[in-house]
């Protein structure tokens, strides 16, 4: 990566701030079962990080997806939110790291493919609602990750064009989405994706706290 550095962060939520990828896979598996599809959470797990419509491409035929993907996504969100308190935890130090990043006058926008209610719930859990500069979510864009729409919207809405934004994510879909629009991407292993799937990232760290500790020089 070239030197002096990033002035804004497009931060993914699941797998970066909260340990929730397994819970998302479980919720998708249960939601799909309600529509008659038996898909194990393990099979779904590697697709987590994509927006709902993109994820369903792997498991649901096209006609059914066309008519029912919204309903399936709605049911998944309900199931995920129901399990949230029991299954989702903040990664140690993730909330305080975001506060540190903000204190360094680096703008932080949450850019997630998740439903708005999930993003808001996570921000409350992390006590970051008033800390981040804002958020964009999957239901605001036509195509969620691995398409770049969520990141593009965040850059446009929060005027980050001149701030040298960097995306921080935990999945190959974050990397693909960022690179589509020429934004570098830092990958975190905390989401549980194998390192080889994150190989195209511009930098890699174990988690957000370690990134800020060991990669501070990457930022302004």
């Amino acid at each position: 990566m070239d030197p002096p550095r990033f002035g804004a962060v497009l931060l993914d939520l699941d797998g970066c701030l909260i340990d929730s990828n397994d819970a998302h896979a479980q919720a998708w598996s249960r939601a799909l079962a309600r529509f008659g599809h038996r898909v194990s959470p393990e099979r779904i797990r590697r697709e987590i990080g994509k927006g709902g419509s993109e994820l369903l491409r792997e498991f649901v035929p096209r006609t059914e997806r066309h008519f029912l993907s919204d309903a399936m996504g709605r049911v998944q969100t309900e199931m995920f939110l129901r399990a949230f308190a029991r299954c989702v935890r903040a990664f140690p130090g993730s909330g305080s790291t975001v506060r540190d990043i903000r204190r360094a006058r680096i703008r932080v926008v949450l850019a997630s493919s998740a439903d708005r209610r999930v993003v808001q719930r996570a921000l409350r859990l992390l006590r970051l609602t008033d800390v981040v500069n804002g958020f964009t979510c999957g239901d605001e864009v036509a195509k969620a990750k691995p398409f770049s729409d969520v990141f593009s919207l965040a850059i446009r809405r929060f005027g980050l064009e001149g701030s040298r934004p960097v995306a921080i994510g935990d999945t190959p879909y974050d990397i693909a989405a960022a690179h589509q629009i020429g934004v570098p991407c830092i990958a975190l292993s905390s989401g549980g994706f194998p390192d080889r799937t994150l190989a195209s990232a511009d930098a890699r760290f174990e988690g957000l706290a370690q990134m800020w500790r060991d990669g501070r020089e990457l930022f302004r």
Binding site: E64, L68, A71
Partner: protein, 137 residues
């Protein structure tokens, strides 16, 4: 009736004097499995997202055929939950009845597919379809 976007027509309910015979012809033409069968009706298709229901008519006036349209964001004070997993509203136009539906939730169990029915999977392999049947009338 207001809605955000029309996704497409996804179902027909047709009056028939010979639902079994017509069902065979529909199946021969389209290859769709039978989702549900009773003395009153035969429902063919892949699920609530794509079906044809043939409803037996005995003497007297036949009920109007139904056309089912799926939409996003159905905004109508009269929308009601239905067994296909949607909220829907009906409009009678004389020759036909229009059902406009926003799919919101899983279908009722009587829309679950019969075991062994097949529909193509995204990977091209066929697999068991959810056994599902027809609209409640």
């Amino acid at each position: 009736m207001r809605y955000g976007e029309a996704l497409g027509f996804h179902g027909l309910v047709l009056p028939s004097r010979d639902p079994e015979g017509e069902a065979r012809r529909w199946t021969a033409a389209l290859g769709w499995p039978v989702l549900r069968r009773s003395r009153h009706e035969v429902v063919l298709g892949l699920g609530p997202d794509l079906f044809v229901a043939l409803v037996r008519v005995r003497g007297g006036a036949a009920p109007p055929p139904e056309v089912h349209l799926a939409v996003r964001e159905l905004r109508d004070a009269h929308r009601r939950k239905d067994p296909l997993g949607g909220d829907s509203v009906k409009r009678d136009f004389g020759a036909a009845r229009l059902i406009v539906r926003e799919f919101c939730r899983p279908p009722a169990s009587n829309w679950s597919p019969s075991r062994g029915a097949q529909r193509p999977s995204p990977s091209g392999r066929s697999r068991k379809v959810r056994g599902r049947s027809q609209p409640k009338r």
